[in-house]
């Protein structure tokens, strides 16, 4: 078991290296080079030269590559060109807001999505199933910002139940009120996703022999569904929810922009608008590392939960 964990962790290393290489190439795709892109065409040759030296762009490509990879691997993700703070400091400043949002959304998604999926599977091809399937298809079709804007219009502008802007507040109630709409927006998209996965996973399990056996032995339907079926159906659901994390972060970027909430989304947008390429590059690495770690963790949890995963190979 420990051997399996170590092997799985080692497997993440080439993935990380390949990711760093990709980011390195992407940043070199900037037309001209990053220095011109940051300072504009009219910057003097001397200023450009200074910035290139500062960014290490005057070095040969292989030297740049080795320096980039060693810096990143030693945890030095670079420094924002505009604020002067390190990328990690920038991320640490806003990460609590994004995590709060993502976790609230995950909570809403799981609490609504799993029951919806179970009902759809149990009442297969009857109206609860159709309603749940149509709802989840609609939910999956919403780009995060579109649903966010429509909810903003409905609940904040027309009904005026909730604030238009989400601001951090020390008062817990108003804090919760400003979290409500963005969390609901992300949560409902996630509900659609989880309901869908739960339905198909439950349908797979309900077709198994041991369910038929349990039913034949007279196990109560409620217990059959909750313990025997859902218990096993949860394994793929956990995996999928873990893998969905990357998409969730992507959607939270848009949600934060719509609801003018501080967070990673606003940080990325700011970096884009000020052409802060070192910050963008660092953020990209931090994001991707985060997703790779979550994927690895998901794999490990899967192995822990499912006794059928063999640790030997």
């Amino acid at each position: 078991m420990i051997g399996y964990v170590i092997r799985r962790l080692l497997l993440a290393i080439p993935t990380l290296l390949a990711m760093l290489t990709m980011v390195f190439i992407l940043v070199r795709l900037v037309p001209g080079d990053a220095a011109v892109a940051m300072l504009g065409d009219r910057a003097s040759a001397q200023t450009l030269q200074n910035l290139r030296a500062q960014l290490g762009l005057d070095q040969p490509i292989p030297v740049q590559y080795v320096r980039f990879v060693t810096d990143m691997l030693s945890g030095d993700f670079g420094r924002s060109m505009t604020s002067g703070r390190t990328v990690l400091e920038e991320v640490a400043l806003v990460l609590p807001y994004t995590l709060e949002l993502a976790l609230a959304a995950m909570l809403i998604g799981t609490l609504l999505g799993i029951p919806l999926g179970v009902v759809a599977a149990v009442r297969r091809n009857r109206w609860p199933d159709y309603v749940s399937r149509i709802l989840s298809l609609v939910g999956l079709s919403f780009p995060g910002f579109v649903s966010g804007i429509l909810m903003l219009l409905a609940f904040a502008v027309w009904l005026q139940w909730l604030p238009v802007m989400s601001r951090a507040s020390t008062d817990p109630l108003s804090h919760l009120r400003s979290l409500a709409l963005p969390a609901l927006n992300l949560g409902l998209i996630m509900t659609a996703y989880i309901a869908r996965v739960t339905r198909s996973s439950m349908l797979d399990v309900m077709g198994e022999d041991y369910i038929r056996t349990a039913r034949a032995k007279g196990v109560k339907p409620s217990k059959l569904i909750m313990r025997h079926a859902l218990g096993n159906a949860l394994i793929p659901i956990v995996t999928v929810v873990g893998l969905y994390f990357g998409t969730l972060i992507g959607n939270s970027v848009l949600t934060e922009i719509v609801f003018t909430r501080p967070g990673l989304g606003k940080l990325i947008l700011g970096a884009l608008q000020s052409r802060d390429y070192t910050l963008l590059q660092g953020l990209m690495v931090v994001f991707a590392t985060f997703v790779i770690l979550v994927n690895t963790a998901t794999d490990l949890i899967y192995a822990l939960v499912d006794p059928r995963v063999s640790y030997a190979q």
Partner: protein
């Protein structure tokens, strides 16, 4: 004689049960109908559009929906309905072209990786895994930001984010197909690997790839709208749905029509593609085919 031997061992192309299942699926027709409508609207935008989508009319700025302007006007006095119709062209063509590129490049990589195997396979799939570990929107955002916003760069950015899934989908059945008798027969007849991949493997996995394409086109249109909303879309004054929402967002408190109509346009298009993709997947998967 040789042709006969091969056609004997080739599996029949199973298009007919799929088409039959698709025909029975009423849900699929909603998707196909909706999509056909949107495509027609995009093609005939100049015929349907009541006004020039770029013509500004300060006298009529921010007027709510009325008999003259069905969907109202924006802050430059441009007709929202006309911009919406022309915007369909941008969204659909970016969605279609980016998925086409991703499909061709991704499937080619997947088939090559599956067929050649070994170190090449490991390298290609390693890169694919890394690309899958980036959230689609963030990867698209980064590429678009690095390349600079334009119609072509947007297509490239979205195509890059969607190449990896196609490689995945094409690789697995290629490996299974590689061991089948008809491929073995082709190989012993001296066909080149390229010929075998093109003539014997590709047609058999094409249906899987097409399903993935319809689902990823939905995602491509979503990504395009999202990038345009962030400000990385085709340059103004070109009408794009995401860009219209971005401009309308500033006036959200006073002019709801600026964001609601383009939002519905995006939603309907993505929904139509998702319905179609789902129906296609059900039709191809033998497990669900019987239920229709």
């Amino acid at each position: 004689m040789t042709d006969f031997a091969i056609s004997q061992s080739m599996p029949a192309r199973q298009s007919s049960p799929v088409l039959r299942a698709l025909r029975r699926n009423r849900f699929a027709w909603i998707g196909i109908g909706l999509l056909a409508l949107i495509v027609l609207v995009a093609i005939f935008a100049p015929v349907f559009a009541p006004y020039d989508p770029l013509k500004q009319n300060i006298l009529h700025r921010l007027s709510p929906p009325s008999a003259d302007f069905w969907f109202g006007t924006d802050s430059y006095g441009r007709d929202v309905l006309s911009r919406l119709l022309y915007g369909a062209r941008i969204s659909l063509s970016i969605g279609f072209l980016s998925v086409l590129i991703a499909m061709v490049v991704g499937s080619a990589l997947g088939i090559l990786a599956g067929y050649i195997g070994g170190v090449f396979d490991q390298i290609v799939m390693g890169i694919v895994d890394v690309m899958l570990s980036f959230p689609t929107l963030l990867l698209g955002l980064m590429v678009a930001a690095m390349l600079g916003a334009s119609f072509e760069n947007l297509i490239i950015a979205i195509a890059i984010t969607e190449t990896a899934p196609f490689a995945r989908v094409a690789r697995a059945p290629t490996i299974a197909m590689k061991r089948r008798d008809f491929v073995e027969a082709g190989r012993s007849l001296g066909y080149t690997p390229l010929h075998i991949m093109r003539v014997h493997i590709l047609p058999n996995i094409l249906s899987d790839i097409v399903v993935v394409a319809s689902l990823w086109m939905a995602s491509a249109i979503r990504t395009e709208a999202s990038l345009a909303f962030i400000g990385l879309g085709a340059l103004p004054p070109t009408a794009t749905w995401g860009g219209m929402i971005r401009e309308g967002f500033d006036n959200i408190l006073s002019a709801w029509w600026l964001v609601v109509f383009p939002s519905l346009a995006i939603l309907l298009t993505v929904l139509a593609l998702n319905i179609l993709g789902d129906a296609l997947r059900d039709a191809i998967d033998p497990k669900t085919r019987s239920q229709g």
